[in-house]
C-alpha cells in the first residue's frame, strides 16, 4: 500500500464518558489515511495511535462493516452516516475526503437515544417499538401450504422496500424533531400491505404509534430529512401510509 498517497485530516470528535457527563469535542489528527480506508478503518488508525499514547480510544458502534447490520451510527459533518446516498458510515470511504479536511464526528442526537459513551447511543427504544406489535401473530397447527396465499409481485416488492430498514436510527438522528416516523412507518407498512399483516393492521398501527410517542420520539413536521439520512433509501411514502393506516384505524 506504500504506493498510495496518504492524507492527514483533522477530526473534531464528541467525547462523553457516560449519559450524565456533559461531554465535549476533542481535536485529533488522523495521519497516514489512504483513500481506500473506510471511515471506521480511519478511526481504527486514530484509535491505535491513541492507545499507544496511553489515551482512551474513541468508542463507536459497529459490527458487520458491510452496510447490513445497522450498528454503525455517526453523524459526520452534520449528516447521519456522512451524507453519501444510500451508504452507512462503515461503507463510506475516505476517497470522499481530501487531504487537510476537517471532519466533525458526533453521535446520533435525540432525546430517545441517550448517549452511552462517545459515539455510542442506546437505541433500545427502536426495539420497544418493534415489540409493541411489529410482527404477525402466528398460531401453531398444521404447516400451511407454501402457496396458499398468493401475493402479487408488486405487493411483495412494496413490503420488501419497507422491510429494507436495518434499524440504524439514522432517520431519528437526521430529524430535527428526533422523530421515529420513518422507522415506525416502515414497520407498519411492511406488514400492512401483505395479506398476512392485514388482520392486525389497525391494532398494530395504534400500538406502534403509542410506543413511538411513549419512548420520547418527536412529531413529524415533514422536513423529509429522514429519507435523506436513510442508508437504505426508505421513502417517506411509508410515513404517509402509516398516517393513512392510523386514520383508518380510528374508524375500525
Amino acid at each position: 500500500m506504500s504506493d498510495h498517497k496518504t492524507m492527514t485530516l483533522t477530526l473534531i470528535v464528541w467525547r462523553q464518558k457516560n449519559a450524565n457527563d456533559p461531554g465535549k469535542f476533542e481535536t485529533y489528527t488522523a495521519k497516514g489515511i489512504t483513500e481506500h480506508h473506510s471511515f471506521l478503518e480511519m478511526l481504527d488508525v486514530v484509535n491505535e495511535d491513541l492507545i499507544l499514547a496511553g489515551k482512551d480510544p474513541i468508542v463507536f458502534d459497529h459490527d458487520c462493516r458491510e452496510g447490513i447490520c445497522g450498528m454503525c451510527s455517526q453523524v459526520v459533518n452534520g449528516m447521519a452516516h456522512g451524507g453519501q446516498d444510500r451508504t452507512t458510515v462503515c461503507q463510506l470511504h475516505m476517497r470522499k475526503f481530501k487531504d487537510g479536511d476537517t471532519i466533525y464526528i458526533e453521535p446520533w442526537r435525540a432525546r430517545a437515544f441517550p448517549i452511552i459513551r462517545d459515539l455510542i447511543v442506546d437505541r433500545a427504544a427502536l426495539d420497544t417499538i418493534v415489540q409493541a406489535g411489529a410482527y404477525v401473530s402466528c398460531h401453531t397447527g398444521g404447516v400451511p401450504d407454501g402457496n396458499a396465499i398468493l401475493i402479487p409481485k408488486p405487493v411483495a416488492d412494496e413490503s420488501m422496500d419497507a422491510a429494507e430498514c436495518i434499524g440504524c436510527g439514522a432517520c431519528v438522528a437526521g430529524c430535527p424533531n428526533g422523530a421515529a416516523m420513518l422507522f415506525t412507518g416502515s414497520k407498519v407498512s411492511q406488514f400492512a400491505v401483505l395479506p398476512q399483516g392485514k388482520p392486525e393492521a389497525a391494532a398494530r398501527v395504534k400500538a406502534l404509534e403509542k410506543a413511538m410517542t411513549d419512548c420520547g420520539f418527536g412529531n413529524c413536521t415533514n422536513h423529509y430529512e429522514c429519507q435523506a439520512a436513510c442508508p437504505k433509501g426508505i421513502n417517506v411514502k411509508f410515513i404517509a401510509r402509516m398516517n393513512r393506516e392510523f386514520l383508518k384505524a380510528q374508524f375500525s
Binding site: 442526537r109 413536521t221 422536513h223
Partner: protein, 225 residues
C-alpha cells in the same frame, strides 16, 4: 379520542384545520378578485352579497373559522414545543438535506400570520383602525358600505400596502410547505405523487401570493382608484 392526544392524530388535526383555512383563503381570494371588475358593482357588490347572507349563517361561518384557527394554533404550538424538547442538543455542524427555510420556520410564519389576521380584522372587518375611512359609515351611491373606497384609501398609503404584501410573503412561505405537508399528514401521498405535490404546493402558494398582493399593488400604483 386518539385524534387529539396522539402524535399522528394531532398532525391530522393540524392538516384538516390547515386545509379548511386554505379553502377559506381561496374563497376569500375569489371575493377579492371582484376588485378586478368581473362582478358588476365590483368589491362593493360582493361585500353587499356577503352581508346579505342570513346572520346565523354569516356568524356560524365566522365562529367556525375562529375555531379552526384556534385548534390549528393550539396544536401547532404544542407540537413545536414537544419537538424542540426531543432534540435539545443540536449538531455542531448544521447540514440540512431536504428541509427548507419554509419548513423550518412554520411556527414563526404562523405566528406572523396570526398577528396579521388580527390587524386585518381590526382594519377592514371591525374598522377600528383608520375609522374615518370605514366602509360602514361611508355608504356608496347605492347606500351599501363603500368597501372599495376604504380599501383604496388604505392602500394608497405605502406603509399599509407594503405591510399587506409582506404578510402575503409570509403566507406564501407558510403554505409552500404547509399544503404538501398536509397531504402527507393525511396520508394522501406516495412516491409517485409526492414530487407533484411539492411543486403544486409551491405553485399554489405562489398563486395565492400573486392574487392577494395584486390588490394592494394595483392600488398603490394608482391603476385602481
Amino acid at each position: 379520542m386518539q385524534l387529539f392526544s396522539s402524535s399522528i392524530g394531532r398532525k391530522i388535526v393540524m392538516a384538516i384545520t390547515g386545509q379548511c383555512m386554505v379553502l377559506f383563503a381561496i374563497i376569500h381570494l375569489l371575493g377579492n378578485s371582484t376588485a378586478f371588475g368581473w362582478l358588476t358593482g365590483g368589491l362593493n357588490a360582493y361585500a353587499h352579497h356577503l352581508h346579505s347572507l342570513p346572520l346565523p349563517l354569516l356568524w356560524g361561518f365566522r365562529l367556525g373559522l375562529l375555531a379552526l384557527a384556534c385548534i390549528h394554533i393550539w396544536f401547532g404550538i404544542q407540537l413545536t414545543i414537544e419537538n424542540r424538547a426531543c432534540r435539545t442538543q443540536q449538531y455542531a455542524v448544521k447540514n440540512m438535506q431536504k428541509a427548507s427555510f419554509a419548513s423550518e420556520t412554520m411556527i414563526w410564519t404562523g405566528a406572523l400570520l396570526l398577528l396579521f389576521i388580527i390587524y386585518h380584522l381590526l382594519h377592514f372587518t371591525f374598522q377600528v383602525i383608520n375609522p374615518e375611512t370605514g366602509a360602514l359609515i361611508n355608504p356608496d351611491a347605492l347606500g351599501h358600505p363603500n368597501v372599495l373606497a376604504m380599501v383604496v384609501a388604505a392602500f394608497q398609503n405605502v406603509g399599509i400596502a407594503l405591510l399587506y404584501v409582506g404578510a402575503m410573503v409570509v403566507l406564501f412561505l407558510h403554505l409552500s410547505h404547509g399544503i404538501q405537508s398536509s397531504f402527507q399528514s393525511m396520508g394522501w401521498s406516495n412516491d409517485r405523487t409526492q414530487p407533484c405535490l411539492i411543486k403544486g404546493s409551491t405553485l399554489g402558494a405562489l398563486f395565492m401570493f400573486l392574487g392577494y398582493a395584486a390588490v394592494p399593488l394595483i392600488i398603490l400604483v394608482r391603476i385602481l382608484k
